[in-house]
């Protein structure tokens, strides 16, 4: 027994402790050196047999070694306790995540928002009006003559006169003399059902056929210059199929001031469609007719698929028909209480469904009001 043995024990035990990979191995090391028959224990046991000189020199060494091994074991034990078995921890990272779905906005809403955002950035106010509208705002105020075909039963949903005395629809009560006499045309159809006993177009109700009534509603309360857009739901009395709906969404823009002209319309339309489609779009105007604008035009945009080269989307015509527009008819300004020829403005409108169908390549207009989540969830 000598000092070298102890040094050797220290070195070997330290190595074995460090190499222990779990509590069991560590325990075995402990037994090997500090157990009842452990190597260091044996030395310690033999200390008694040594003379005092030797004891004095070996004793502290042996006890020091014991301390060293104890500390080493403790330290390693803690290390092993904090060690994580990564293999045991392993999971299948390819399993699906827990379902946590966001809902989807209707594609109509998405298109509305894009449009509203573009117009808002150009300083347009967003305004709205009722869906249940008076004949006056829907037709008369917009310069539709009493016999205009649009007032036909075929095109417009008319409302049975409301007999309930409690009803307080938000409508303008006509002053005496203001009450325009309506054509018997509309009053007599359907066995006298519609409008029986109703004399004024300010009392007769329709489901609005366009968002244009809001033009007059807005102008009654505001003075030019202004620029507004009117998003909203409109109704057409026609049977539905892949390209026809009786419930539609529309957009109306109205810009009014002292000297608004066709050039301004072309500029804003081009700005808008270029922003909406994210590429340069050209505008083309063709002559048209609407009672509430003069001059009136159809407006086409250069095909957004082929950029005017000709492709199946535009049926090789290079242009896509989008909507109607025109310079506000002075009679409409008059309906809103403005003096004739004091202001100029343009108005234009187009269908949201058509834009959504173009943008998302949707093949059937009836999807929008279907409530079918297989469709809605795609957006």
């Amino acid at each position: 027994m000598n000092k070298a043995d102890i040094k050797q024990i220290e070195a070997e035990s330290a190595k074995e402790i460090a190499e222990s990979q779990d509590a069991k191995q560590l325990y075995d090391v402990k037994v090997k050196y500090l157990g009842r028959k452990g190597r260091l224990t044996e030395i310690l046991k033999k200390l008694r047999d040594l003379d005092s000189e030797e004891r004095k020199s070996i004793g502290p060494l042996a006890n020091g070694a014991r301390q060293l091994i104890d500390n080493g074991l403790d330290k390693r034990k803690k290390e092993l306790e904090n060690q994580i078995d990564w293999e045991k921890e392993k999971i299948d990272v390819t399993l699906p995540g827990e379902k946590n779905e966001l809902g989807s906005l209707n594609s109509i809403t998405i298109v509305y928002r894009e449009i509203e955002q573009i117009f808002s950035s150009m300083g347009f106010e967003i305004t709205s009006g009722p869906e249940l509208e008076t004949d006056w705002y829907n037709f008369t105020a917009l310069n539709f003559p009493p016999d205009h075909p649009a007032r036909d039963m075929q095109d417009t949903f008319w409302i049975h006169p409301i007999t309930n005395p409690n009803h307080k629809m938000q409508m303008k009560i006509p002053s005496e003399g203001e009450a325009a006499s309506l054509s018997e045309n509309n009053l007599r159809r359907n066995g006298g059902g519609i409008g029986a006993g109703v004399k004024s177009d300010k009392e007769k109700l329709v489901l609005r056929t366009h968002t244009s009534p809001v033009q007059v509603r807005y102008m009654e309360k505001h003075k030019p210059p202004f620029r507004v857009i009117v998003p909203g739901r409109v109704f057409r009395n026609e049977a539905t199929d892949a390209t026809h709906e009786h419930t539609l969404h529309q957009f109306e823009a109205l810009v009014t001031g002292k000297d608004i002209n066709i050039g301004h319309f072309k500029h804003i339309a081009k700005e808008f469609f270029s922003a909406f489609f994210g590429k340069d779009v050209d505008i083309r105007l063709r002559p048209s007719f609407f009672p509430f604008t003069e001059p009136s035009f159809e407006f086409d945009i250069s095909c957004t698929v082929c950029s005017g080269k000709g492709c199946p989307s535009c049926r090789y015509g290079k242009w896509l028909e989008i909507g109607g527009a025109g310079m506000v008819n002075q009679n409409v300004f008059m309906s809103a209480g403005y003096p004739r020829n004091k202001f100029q403005g343009f108005a234009w409108g187009f269908g949201i469904e058509r834009l959504a169908m173009m943008k998302y390549k949707i093949d059937d207009i009836r999807w929008f009001e279907s409530g079918d989540l297989r469709f809605i969830k795609q957006f």
Partner: protein, 665 residues
């Protein structure tokens, strides 16, 4: 209208090909519809705008457009009215009873007619224009109509009583028309009659009894003008659409009747027999229409178009369209031909100048406006906020029709008298305007259950009540087949989060005194904000769901958007200082009887604990046992445990005494 290319070419002297012409007219006047070959002829079809039916539903009218577009005037020799004087000493007996329905009636009698086939060139032009050739007389009337726009009719003189009466039909008067159908007329229909019988349905179709046949030797030729709305109503009433009614219902110029008759006589004399003689002519025309004047400000023209068109260019465009124009300073004094009924205002003339000048030649111009932010549309912004929160909570947005039918009114126990009815619905299941969004939502749920086990949907849309008018509502529903818990709480939790996001802290879900019409009577709550009912949340009555073959429970809600918005706006967001002092959680478990509501318990705890109650949560519920965690603390100091005990004991005492709960100790 369908046009013959060769005919247009001859009249207008254009050198353009059919394709060039189609393109040109599309950009300057009327949309090109279709083109096809008819033998040696090319047919071009254009959609004539509703305000141009007065003059453009004719080859001469279209030729005038072509000339104007090409910067020329139509050849003056096409002005047939200059060719013949309409004065004959011999009069035909014509009586117009309805002057306002028939502003002009020219009747002329011709004899020595020889009926036969019309010449080939005429037949080809008719065919190219979509009209079937019949015999020379009928073909001439059609040819003149296609050429000038004036519908004409020829009666076999021998088969009439020799006179003409323009009168309203007698009620139920019957007439067999050229289509060989018998029509029963109303007292609002206008007929051309003789002293014995009705000969024709005025402006729409002739009667078969007086039709031209091979033996016809003398005729009465009619060139008349009829009131447009009256013609329209008659043809709609009887569902007859003819070339004639098509033109009359668009209103044509009474002066065109003269042009038509002159041209027809000329052709009949040429093609209807060697010795054709006009033996009588009567023109009943009381209120003569004369050209009118429009004073056009040339500055206004350029100001509205946004261009700098020279005055001379404006003048020539209008002259090429047939107006007589005199320059007077910055004004153009324009005399409008009577055929252009659509030209009434300066803007009407500006449109003519603009379109012939070419809209593509008008340069884009940036708007010069004051730079300012537009007013906010608070409702639109609020709706968008609702949509964002709801989609964040997993709801998808549906849109439904504004209609439903008697079935829904009955199934959902709705008040029929509150419904606004459509006079002319597309079908009976779309007869009423919706008073609630729920029937649509239930329809969506039924559909989507075929494909999904769990989903949540919402809709923002207007409802219409006869009593309260139009209102915007938000409704939604939640379906979860996989979950065993009552879906009511699932939906309620989402609504609570919605209200939290809207900054609406004090939402009350209260059991209503009377349950709604279509809800589960014991699983429904009204939603109150500041003591105002703004909507409800409920499980749908399972009996109603059964009618829609829905076996699963469906919970839904409906809120008044504007009411919620008003309350939401009233709460300004502001920071609440976070207390520096610790809070303590104390749990209380208790047995409650079935009539004690959780809302009563929390109310009592808040009342008793006052400001020290920071939060109350339900952390366990099993049968009649509830476990509640109360967070207690003070903003001013750290509470001692004896102070806390005092509060908790007070709460336990109050709960036991006032609500009869048994607290487990």
């Amino acid at each position: 209208m369908k046009y013959s290319y060769n005919w247009l070419k001859e009249l207008s002297k254009t050198k353009k090909t059919p394709e060039q012409l189609a393109q040109l007219i599309s950009m300057r006047a009327f949309e090109f519809e279709d083109s096809k070959k008819e033998g040696t002829e090319t047919q071009l079809e254009f959609a004539i705008l509703p305000n141009r039916g007065h003059d453009a539903l004719s080859h001469i009218g279209m030729a005038r457009e072509i000339c104007a577009i090409e910067g020329r005037k139509l050849s003056p020799e096409l002005d047939y009215s200059q060719r013949l004087k309409l004065s004959f000493s011999q009069k035909l007996n014509i009586k117009v009873n309805e002057r306002h329905l028939c502003p002009r009636y020219i009747g002329t009698a011709l004899e020595n007619i020889k009926v036969g086939a019309s010449p080939k060139w005429m037949q080809q032009r008719l065919l190219a224009s979509g009209v079937k050739p019949i015999n020379n007389i009928v073909d001439i009337t059609n040819y003149v109509m296609l050429e000038t726009g004036q519908p004409l009719h020829a009666f076999d003189l021998e088969r009439t009583a020799g006179n003409i009466i323009v009168r309203k039909a007698k009620k139920n008067e019957e007439i067999k028309l050229l289509d060989e159908k018998v029509y029963k007329l109303t007292a609002n229909d206008l007929v051309i009659a003789d002293s014995e019988k009705a000969l024709a349905l005025a402006g729409v179709m002739g009667g078969i009894g007086s039709a031209i046949n091979n033996k016809t030797a003398s005729i009465i030729l009619e060139s008349a003008n009829f009131d447009a709305p009256s013609i329209r109503k008659t043809r709609m009433r009887h569902n007859i659409n003819t070339e004639s009614s098509h033109r009359f219902e668009r209103e044509i110029d009474p002066n065109l009747a003269e042009i038509g008759v002159v041209r027809a006589i000329e052709l009949i004399k040429k093609l209807g027999g060697k010795n054709v003689e006009v033996i009588a002519l009567t023109d009943v025309y009381a209120k003569i229409i004369r050209p009118w004047k429009i004073n056009l400000n040339t500055n206004y023209v350029n100001n509205l178009l946004g261009e700098n068109i020279p005055v001379s260019k404006m003048k020539s465009i209008l002259e090429n369209l047939g107006l007589i124009v005199k320059v007077s300073g910055k004004f153009l004094n324009c005399e409008t031909p009577t055929r252009r009924i659509d030209l009434k205002t300066q803007e009407d003339l500006i449109e003519e100048i603009g379109r012939i000048y070419g809209y593509e030649n008008i340069k884009e111009q940036a708007l010069c406006v004051e730079l300012k932010t537009p007013p906010r549309n608070e409702k639109r912004i609020f709706e968008n906020k609702l949509k964002n929160i709801l989609t964040g909570l997993g709801f998808s947005e549906v849109m439904n029709y504004s209609f439903y039918g008697k079935d829904e009114v009955a199934s959902f126990n709705l008040d029929e008298s509150d419904h606004i009815e459509v006079s002319n619905p597309l079908s009976l299941d779309q007869q009423y305007l919706r008073t609630t969004l729920i029937p649509g939502i239930v329809r969506n749920a039924t559909l989507n259950l075929k494909y999904f086990n769990d989903f949540s949907i919402f809709e923002i849309g207007d409802i219409f009540s006869a009593k309260k008018g139009e209102k915007t509502k938000l409704a939604g529903a939640l379906m979860n087949r996989n979950q065993k818990n009552n879906p009511y709480y699932d939906l309620k939790g989402k609504l609570e989060e919605l209200f939290r996001c809207l900054n609406l802290p004090d939402v009350e879900f209260a059991q209503p005194k009377v349950a709604g019409n279509f809800v589960h009577p014991t699983r429904t709550a009204v939603i109150k904000l500041k003591n105002t009912v703004v909507g409800y949340i409920a499980e749908l009555n399972p009996n109603i769901l059964r009618k829609y073959d829905l076996k699963d429970r469906l919970v839904c809600f409906e809120l008044d958007v504007v009411e919620v918005m008003k309350t939401s706006d009233a709460f300004e967001k502001s920071y609440h200082p976070i207390s520096k002092f610790p809070t303590v959680n104390r749990d209380i478990s208790m047995f409650v009887d079935e009539n004690t509501k959780y809302a009563d318990i929390t109310k009592e705890i808040k009342k008793t604990g006052g400001e020290l109650i920071k939060n109350i949560t339900l952390f366990d519920k099993y049968k009649d046992s509830l476990a509640i965690r109360i967070e207690i603390g003070s903003n001013g100091k750290t509470l001692t445990s004896s102070e806390i005990d005092t509060v908790v004991n007070k709460i336990i005492h109050a709960l036991e005494k006032k609500l009869g709960v048994k607290v487990r100790k």
